[in-house]
Subunit: 514 residues, 2 copies
């Protein structure tokens, strides 16, 4: 390290390479990750079989209620389930049998075909956080999200190659009436980005509007044959689907679009405090939701979703990045593989109010659990703060940087002659340094992943540059990304047709604020 | 969550339980972790065999230099290695054959027998960071470490149940001459703590002084029969052991004490930039060091150590928490298991100057790699900052909190009838909450790990409490721990004998500052 000549040569080469890489990034197309590392198998066959058996007992004895959705009850009755009022009980094997028509993997098409994404199999896809009413940054503090914030996060996601998917409700635009919000959100995803996206689920008609807007861009026949939009469907745990959700789910399935089915179980509230029980419950709920999509339209793409949380003893508040949900995710991954369905699991979760040490530790635990459990679609990969109440600008940039690292991670470790470098050992020998070795010069620029946010400089350099912490560096990067954003091209005729549709629907719909 | 009655009941119970747990912690004895989760197997047989074969080529063709240690060369010659000057080349299979006498697991005895630790097998042990010249906290900033700082970190480690081992050079006490430092350090470990510890390695005589001090406490015969002290031996990568290190290594082995053998390879400097080559080199170097300990005294305990780092393209500075060393650790773990030796690998590494988001993200990546690679002795589990140059007070507390989480993590996930909670589902049913369920009340207090540093409260509570970030909360906890520290009991006769030894040796030794 102390030899000036070889390192300065490397620095020079490195500096050029880095400037080049930085410049390329905003336009770079990274259409998901091809997973090249194994999953982490926590439980053996016996433990998995016991959880599956418990789920079967829950489904058969207790069942699941589908509230306010007559059609769903009819579909269940016709499929052979025992329906009593709104309670549906499932004979053992029924759901697995129905789920045989669900694809193990599918492609969600983007309006830029180069950005289409494989969901399932060896594909891994990152999408930003979803659903927070608040946003936050260093300059403005914590405040309600607006449509301008929503558009900012769509732009930031578009400018981040390591986020492959534009997500859905990247924050709630609370300055727009609830009844009309979905139109502006879907329009933003379609106009400001050309990555795959998610539509509305807060009402059946809003789901249908979202799909209709996708038809304007992709064409009606194309949409009937291909998945172009996803809807994120929450079960009302424990063991309930309300009609809003089941009807939105059926709307996506009916149009051959993807329903991501996700129970949210806060241990001790919407499920038991013990992980195995919560996993069994979640497994039962998700199987039922995915199966309902298959009854609506056999073969419709679905994603097997999961969201486990622990709770704080003192307050009952959800906690994140703790061991229990991380271990739970590993088991959920094993169960999803046995069902042969694409998995959505975990994300960059934290209960911290700011992107400090707590936030990044908790988020790192959660994201690594997602990677190691074999999740295919990882919503909430960037921006999440405060248990999901807040979308953070700096947190988004810090998380996205970790997503970049995970691209390298999932490539795994190369073990070929070039990587084993025996010639380099022969060239260098004991006690010498590798700085100037031919092997080093050939591989140096690509050997190691390098963070865009971390500071690896000396203390003195860091001090002289203002002793900035990671959040302050992220804030600067965030502003730069927004300033340099350029929208993807969109056919003016399509743009106009979208605007017409949004204008017409807004005129038809009343302003509702709840 | 909105039902006041059941949660307030839980809160009340929880509050009591938590206060109790907090109070118990400082006196709690946690003698290591019994690992109950599988390791993460990154490579298959073919990849592992290729790395082992590359190591064999390095050992046979290039060899390793043992500089300034005639006895080491003699031992190698007698064992059948090819010795040319100070270069030693190893016929294939020689080192593996010598290593057969090394124990797969052993117990390091503590002066409090309840704190003795199993090193190897299903045992996992955390120790604080090692070797930093600087210390840092919020109040005092970054400064050279002193003996007072050293003693503070021994006290903090003693007061942290989740660190099982007192470590060694927890920071450099630079106010004490280098020639005498080891005496004060070992005395601090023996007096201020009753956990297992590490001695000096910076000179053969200092290693012998360390062991002699252990003999005063444990008795000469006991020390000859049991491991009571460890020495952390660095190879001078690439492919060199200098005489200081190899003689210290042999001093520990000669006394039947444990040598932890650790090459430090900064990719592109002391080894190739490609991970597979650096791992092969490290494997060769560690095998040679561990084998030398066996030649000195067959059966002496050794720990197979490893330290991989990536580098920043711009500066050549080491980087931490990046994907490459994390993946590398997983492979090193696989190789160590095939050798059947206890493994030291990874730690809470970061290049950040302060315990911010960067620091905790990088440290979390590194620590999880240690857990998943199957490391048995994890040095640097708490306090590490700035690439090892700084021991941080707040960082120590934040890392130690994560060590607590890892205790729960390594218990794994229970899948028994109580955890599956079918009776709770029968009691609660669809759409109801689990707050008041008998199962919840029975398990709530122990169901979830709870951080002592994280803030999971509402934004409003957090704001009203001063908007403290994780580091500020850790600073408070750190001061409390130091204020409440109480030393373990030590027989006054032993205390006096230690003081006599330190006094006599200090009088004999000159003051040397380098």
């Amino acid at each position: 390290m102390s030899d000036a000549d070889p390192t300065s040569r490397l620095r020079e080469r490195g500096g050029r390479a880095r400037r080049l890489r930085e410049a390329q990034r905003p336009n770079e197309i990274v259409a998901g990750i091809v997973r090249n590392i194994p999953t982490y198998e926590l439980l053996g066959e016996e433990g998995l079989a016991r959880i599956e058996a418990a789920a079967d007992v829950i489904l058969k004895e207790i069942g699941i209620e589908f509230r306010g959705d007559e059609m769903a009850l009819k579909l269940w009755r016709n499929a052979g389930a025992a329906v009593e009022g709104e309670r549906v009980r499932f004979p053992p094997g029924l759901l697995r049998s129905i789920l045989k028509t669900a694809p193990a993997a599918f492609v969600q098409r983007a309006r830029n075909p180069a950005r289409s994404l494989k969901i399932g199999g060896d594909g891994v896809v990152f999408a930003p956080a979803y659903g927070s009413p608040f946003v936050q940054d260093l300059d403005g503090g914590r405040r309600y999200g607006t449509l301008a914030d929503f558009e900012n996060f769509v732009k930031l996601t578009y400018a981040t190659p390591w986020l492959h998917h534009s997500g859905g409700t990247v924050c709630e635009p609370v300055d727009v009436p609830v009844s009309k919000r979905h139109l502006d959100m879907v329009a933003a995803h379609l106009r400001l980005s050309d990555k795959p996206f998610m539509g509305s689920v807060t009402a059946e008609k809003r789901a249908e509007d979202s799909i209709e807007m996708a038809r304007i861009v992709f064409g009606r026949d194309f949409v009937d044959a291909h998945c172009v939009v996803m809807g994120n469907i929450n079960a009302n745990s424990p063991l309930v689907y309300d009609g809003t959700m089941s009807k939105a789910l059926r709307a996506y399935a009916r149009a051959n679009q993807c329903a991501v089915v996700v129970p949210f179980i806060l241990g001790g509230a919407m499920g038991p405090v013990t992980s195995a029980g919560a996993i069994a419950q979640s497994f039962a709920e998700t199987m039922a939701g995915c199966a309902l999509a298959q009854l609506e339209r056999p073969g419709a793409p679905v994603v097997f979703g999961n969201f486990l949380s622990s709770t704080a003893l003192r307050s009952g508040a959800p906690t994140f990045g703790t061991p229990e949900p991380a271990l739970g995710s590993l088991v959920v991954g094993q169960l999803a593989r046995r069902l042969n369905l694409p998995l959505r699991c975990s994300g960059a979760f934290t209960s911290s109010k700011i992107p400090d040490g707590q936030a990044m530790q908790e988020s790192t635990v959660s994201m690594l659990a997602a990677i190691q459990c074999g999740a295919h679609f990882i919503l909430h990969s960037a921006g999440w703060l405060e248990g999901g109440l807040v979308m953070g600008y700096e947190k988004f940039v810090m998380d996205a940087d970790f997503c970049a690292a995970l691209h390298v991670w999932m490539r795994g470790l190369a073990v070929d002659d070039e990587a084993l470098a025996l010639d380099a050992f022969r060239e260098v020998g004991p006690g010498k340094h590798f700085f100037g070795a031919a092997h080093t010069l050939a591989h140096y620029e690509t050997a190691f992943w390098e963070s865009a946010v971390a500071d690896n400089n000396s203390f003195e350099q860091w001090r002289d540059e203002g002793m900035k912490d990671a959040r302050m560096r992220a804030a600067r990067r965030c502003k730069k990304m927004l300033a340099e954003y350029e929208p993807p091209k969109l056919d003016p005729a399509i743009d106009e047709a979208l605007a017409d549709f949004v204008g017409r629907r807004k005129a038809e719909l009343p302003d509702q604020w709840v």
